[in-house]
């Protein structure tokens, strides 16, 4: 035994005894070796009690060796690098590692929550449902929620980096045991593009703990030779510490690669890498997991799965106990007895449930001086914080206690069929191995080796090789390698299914992580929760972080026997993604913080910064909401900017405005179909405002269209609709009217837009110089020009959203700052003012101009906003037929109006309802406010909204919340439109 590690062997295993590693667990310092996992290092140091269970806070120790570990979950790391509920078996030791047991306070030895264990008689399945009914569940919820869970969720921001990567391959091999290596080796030699993934840090699978002679060399040498061969082949990717967690349609698999530990990440390494792989063929060599035996006290620290015990001895040179007993119903666990004996541990007995254990193994046991108890069972255990003794029932029924500190148990092997099931494959229950095996495949995959119920090394090698051979044939690749040959191996004797050992006192656990016992399953059966899905939800069996890897099959079999059904008929619950828990951050990858949703900046962004803009996110664009002066509030800035537009001039960047070119002989015909109003009668050089509807007749966008020439329109959409409307036009063109000769080209970001608006706009524009006449009669409202503005090639729309003379000047995006500067300089003497979105919206509210999505919703039709005349249009358009439906023709529908509060100082709250009181004094909504603000030019509040009956209600006085208001036409300012035509 080695120095400070009392359970470490002097030699053997894949650990480097010359490289000690210091770590802390639960605040205490320990030492392990390079190559250890946290689990093996804890065992080497004799740490038996390493966690508390979820519900009863029972003392627990390690049970497994890998992904199946259900007892020892730890809080890994500290401060901002703290991860809850990590399996100690999957943590590779590094210098300075810190971990702590979960679900115990003040510490794992003296745990206050352990009081639950004393009351466990009352805490059976369904306890919550039956108990916390009076006065109601919420009365108890807070306390229960605080008691629930295991580790602590970190409260600080995760500082680590996560990546994702896509990959394609001919063949993806999951698992690197003998079957997986045989498959990968053949495929690599045949020139296939291969990915081999292994969740462990080392390749080899069962060969890491079982002896075998393959192709004349020992297993370790064969693994190394195969690794070298793979490394020398082209197009081979071997990923260790990588779990295949998801198997989706069409052979899309998700892998999770553990890249850096806490220490490496602090130095800049990536933490996890998520792989999305598309494979032509998949070979599942995922192995098998040991099944626990269900007997009283089977959860005491020191009771472990037999294969795991052998793994710790052979792989890590750690013996998990000084005096062991083996309890089994199959051959597999005998190997553990031999491994322990060879390592010098006292093995008092092998208890085999079978009456006729295999002869060759019995004689080998006697060679080691190990007693064999045939037809026996372990019925109970003793020990407060760790195993002290087990009660053995021999074949003749006699009971006796035997001292031991380690019990290695094996109830048979469960093939790891999770990925196979995720792929859509159907399981069948195999009576010979008493396990679920892959049945019919649903995708281009094959299960091999132990995952397919072949539990010998030679069988695994053959099945892996043969499956790869079949896969390569489908890929038209030639195979040029013989199958590896494993020297003579014995055939295992059949096991004796043993699902529940009765007779002991105390709980016999089925699901260790969620504390579900055999009695709980009995209770579920008595209360008729006999469907496996009901059993799962009623008892929480298989619902813990391990998703029932060790417990499900035992539970199904117990339920089957209680209900007199076969295991096959009882069935399994659904296997779901992910196979093993994944950090949420691995899904996010790089898409966090600034990269979560990259914000777009307008071409003159830097100019807005110079003007002191307050930016906000508008549909993914960073836009100025206003430009507050030093000490000025946002509200005051909005008022000042809006007033400047009414009195002199404002400058507004509207680059996100959607711009779509519609070109072709049928452009006019197409736009007549798309817009509710007519666009074909528009003259070249003119602009028309239009509404677009969906087939339900609801308004989906508005904006102007300019006719550049006969066969060329520019369609302007709202900023939020830019991408959506371009896609909308394409869909109609491609799917409904493919015969129309039209091309749709979205050009939104190619053009920057600066809008100059206000009574001084024309004078300012004249000052910067244009290549065309600006006189009102030559270039009137609702017209369009192409020409030069300040010597920059431009498209100018004379349209107005403010009610003042406005020029929307479109220039190539890169010229936007230059245009901005020129206009601003020219307007200086007029008091030109940059205006943000807030002021802009206030101006259009004064004018009663619609803002689609604010004033309208998904039910608003043109008929509701005063556009009844569209029905006079002769030709069809999208949504027309729906406008004729009786529901849309109702006269009491919500219609668009203005509201003027009786008190002019009041700004009606947006969202506030128009309330009417019926004769029986019940109140109901008669409409609501959709836009509102204080008009600086009118000196009163202005508001827009919807009211039943629409403009038939003009003149009515209504109650809006606590305010009284009059229903008025939408345009509060300059209703005749004299100013915008000026």
């Amino acid at each position: 035994m080695s120095g400070t590690q009392p359970f470490r062997l002097a030699s053997g295993g894949e650990v480097d005894r010359d490289r000690p590693i210091r770590f802390r667990f639960g605040g205490k310092a320990y030492t392990g070796f390079e190559g250890d996992t946290l689990a093996s290092a804890l065992l080497a140091n004799g740490v038996r009690l390493a966690g508390r269970s979820f519900k009863y806070h029972r003392p627990r120790g390690l049970i497994g060796m890998g992904v199946e570990e259900s007892n020892v979950l730890v809080q890994l790391g500290s401060a901002d690098r703290s991860t809850p509920n990590v399996r100690a078996t999957e943590v590779y030791l590094y210098e300075g590692l810190e971990a702590a047991p979960v679900n115990c306070w003040p510490n794992v030895r003296l745990d206050i929550g352990g009081i639950n264990n004393l009351m466990s008689r009352f805490l059976a399945a369904g306890f919550y449902y039956k108990t916390f009914m009076w006065p109601n569940w919420h009365f108890y919820e807070g306390i229960i929620r605080r008691a629930a869970g295991l580790g602590r969720a970190p409260t600080q921001r995760d500082p680590d980096r996560y990546e994702s990567r896509n990959a394609h391959c001919d063949l993806l091999v999951v698992g690197s045991g003998p079957a997986g290596l045989a498959a990968a080796r053949l495929a690599a030699a045949s020139g296939a593009r291969v990915m081999l993934v292994e969740q462990d840090s080392l390749l080899g699978g069962s060969l890491l703990h079982d002896d075998a002679t393959i192709d004349g060399s020992d297993a370790r040498a064969w693994i190394d030779a195969t690794k070298e061969m793979l490394a020398a082949s082209e197009d081979i990717v071997v990923l260790a510490r990588t779990a295949a967690v998801g198997y989706f349609d069409h052979n899309a698999l998700t892998l999770l690669e553990q890249v850096g530990n806490e220490a490496a990440c602090a130095a800049g390494s990536v933490r996890y890498r998520l792989w999305n792989v598309r494979a032509k063929r998949v070979i599942l060599a995922t192995g098998a997991l040991d099944r626990p035996l269900v007997f009283s006290g089977n959860d005491r620290p020191g009771v472990m799965l037999a294969t795991a015990v052998r793994h710790y001895v052979r792989r890590f040179g750690v013996v998990p106990g000084k005096k062991a007993i083996v309890f089994t119903n199959n051959d597999e666990a005998y190997r553990t007895a031999f491994a322990l004996a060879e390592a010098g541990t006292i093995v008092s007995a092998v208890v085999d449930a079978r009456s006729h254990p295999p002869d060759d193994f019995s004689s080998r046991l006697s060679h080691f001086g190990i007693a064999l108890i045939a037809g026996g069972a372990v019925v109970a255990t003793k020990g407060a914080k760790a195993l002290r003794a087990v009660q053995v029932r021999s074949g003749d029924g006699a009971l006796r206690w035997v001292d031991c500190d380690l019990l290695a148990m094996s109830g048979g092997l469960n093939p790891t069929v999770h990925l196979f099931c995720q792929s859509g494959g159907k399981l069948r229950f195999d009576e010979a191995t008493a396990s679920f095996l892959p049945g019919n495949s649903a995708q281009a995959e094959e299960s091999v080796g132990a995952a397919a119920g072949t539990f010998t090394v030679s069988g695994a090698l053959q099945s892996g090789h043969a499956a790869a051979h079949r896969a390569l044939l489908t890929l038209d690749l030639e195979c040029c390698l013989d199958a590896p040959v494993c020297a003579e191996e014995r055939l295992p004797q059949p096991l004796l299914p043993l699902w529940h050992v009765s007779g002991g006192r105390g709980k016999a656990f089925v699901d260790f992580q969620n504390d579900v016992s055999a009695d709980d399953i009995g209770l579920a059966a008595r209360e008729n929760f006999i469907s496996v899905e009901h059993l799962k939800r009623y008892t929480t069996l298989g619902m813990a972080a391990d998703q029932g890897k060790t417990s499900n099959v035992n539970a199904l079999a117990i339920m089957a026997s209680l209900t007199g059904r076969s295991v096959q008929d009882t069935g399994t619950t659904r296997y779901r993604f992910p196979f093993t828990p994944m950090p949420l951050a691995s899904f996010a990858g790089r898409a966090r913080a600034d990269l979560f949703r990259p914000l777009r900046m307008m071409p003159a962004h830097e100019r807005h910064i110079r003007h002191g803009a307050a930016f906000e996110d508008y549909g993914g664009w960073m836009r100025p909401s206003c430009y507050p002066l030093p000490g000025e509030s946002h509200a005051a800035a909005e008022q000042r900017e809006a007033l400047a537009v009414r009195q002199s001039a404002g400058l507004f960047e509207g680059s996100p405005l959607g711009k779509i070119e519609v070109v072709g002989p049928d452009a006019a015909k197409f736009l007549d179909l798309i817009y509710a109003n007519t666009m074909s009668t528009l003259k070249s050089g003119k602009v028309r405002y239009g509404l677009m509807l969906n087939e339900l007749g609801a308004i989906i966008d508005d904006g102007v269209a300019a006719r550049v020439e006969d066969t060329h329109y520019i369609v302007c959409t709202s900023s939020g609709g830019a991408a959506r409307i371009a896609a909308w036009l394409e869909e109609w063109l491609q799917c409904e009217w493919p015969g129309l000769d039209v091309v749709v080209a979205p050009v939104t970001t190619a053009w920057g837009v600066v809008t100059l608006t206000g009574p001084a706009a024309r004078q300012i524009l004249e000052k910067v110089g244009t290549s065309f006449d600006l006189a009102a009669d030559v270039f009137p409202h609702m017209s369009f020009r192409e020409g030069l503005v300040a010597n920059i090639p431009a498209r100018i729309f004379r349209v107005s959203y403010t009610g003042e003379v406005s020029y929307e000047i479109n220039v190539p995006a890169s010229h936007t700052p230059e245009l901005w500067d020129r206009l601003f300089a020219a307007g200086a003497t007029h008091g030109i003012t940059p205006i943000g979105v807030d002021g802009w919206m206030l101006l259009r509210t004064e004018k009663g101009f619609l803002h689609i999505g604010a004033d309208t919703d998904g039910t608003t039709t043109p008929l509701d906003v005063g556009w009844g005349y569209v029905l006079k249009k002769k030709s069809d358009f999208v949504g027309r037929r729906s406008l004729l439906l009786p529901e849309n023709q109702r006269s009491d529908k919500l219609g668009f109006v203005g509201f003027r509060a009786v008190d002019p100082a009041v700004i009606l709250p947006v969202g506030e309802h128009v309330v009417i009181t019926d004769a029986d004094s019940t109140q109901r909504s008669d409409g609501y406010v959709t836009s509102a603000g204080f008009s600086p030019v009118l000196g009163m509040g202005v508001a827009l909204g919807m009211i039943h009956g629409g403009d038939t209600r003009l003149g009515d006085t209504v109650s809006i919340g606590v305010h009284r208001a009059q229903v008025v036409p939408p345009a509060a300012y300059d209703p005749e439109g004299k100013r915008l035509n000026g």
Partner: protein, 99 residues
């Protein structure tokens, strides 16, 4: 995660596409000649078969072309991919059949 053979770009991941629902729906018209019932059926009535289903899909993050897919909703097998305007190939095992 389906692997979809775009008729213009070749096989691509499902994430590049948007599903536009049932295909081959005839838009009735002219509007005045269509009954409310017929229009309502056009707007809202869709089949939801277990088995063969024909849908239109958009290669949104690619060529931005619409096309049709005949697929089995139970097995997720893509039986055929064909362009807009082309007629739908019959399923090998008959309409709506589940293997």
């Amino acid at each position: 995660m389906l692997l979809i053979e775009c008729p213009w770009c070749g096989p691509r991941d499902e994430v590049e596409f948007q599903c536009g629902g049932q295909s081959h729906i005839e838009r009735p018209g002219p509007p005045e000649a269509v009954s409310d019932e017929r229009w309502g059926a056009y707007l809202f009535e869709r089949i939801n078969p277990k088995g063969l289903h024909r849908e239109r899909w958009l290669h949104a993050f690619g060529c931005r072309r619409w096309f049709n897919i005949a697929r089995n909703t139970a097995t997720h097998e893509i039986i055929a991919v064909y362009r807009m305007g082309e007629s739908s190939p019959d399923a090998p095992s008959g309409d709506g059949a589940v293997p």
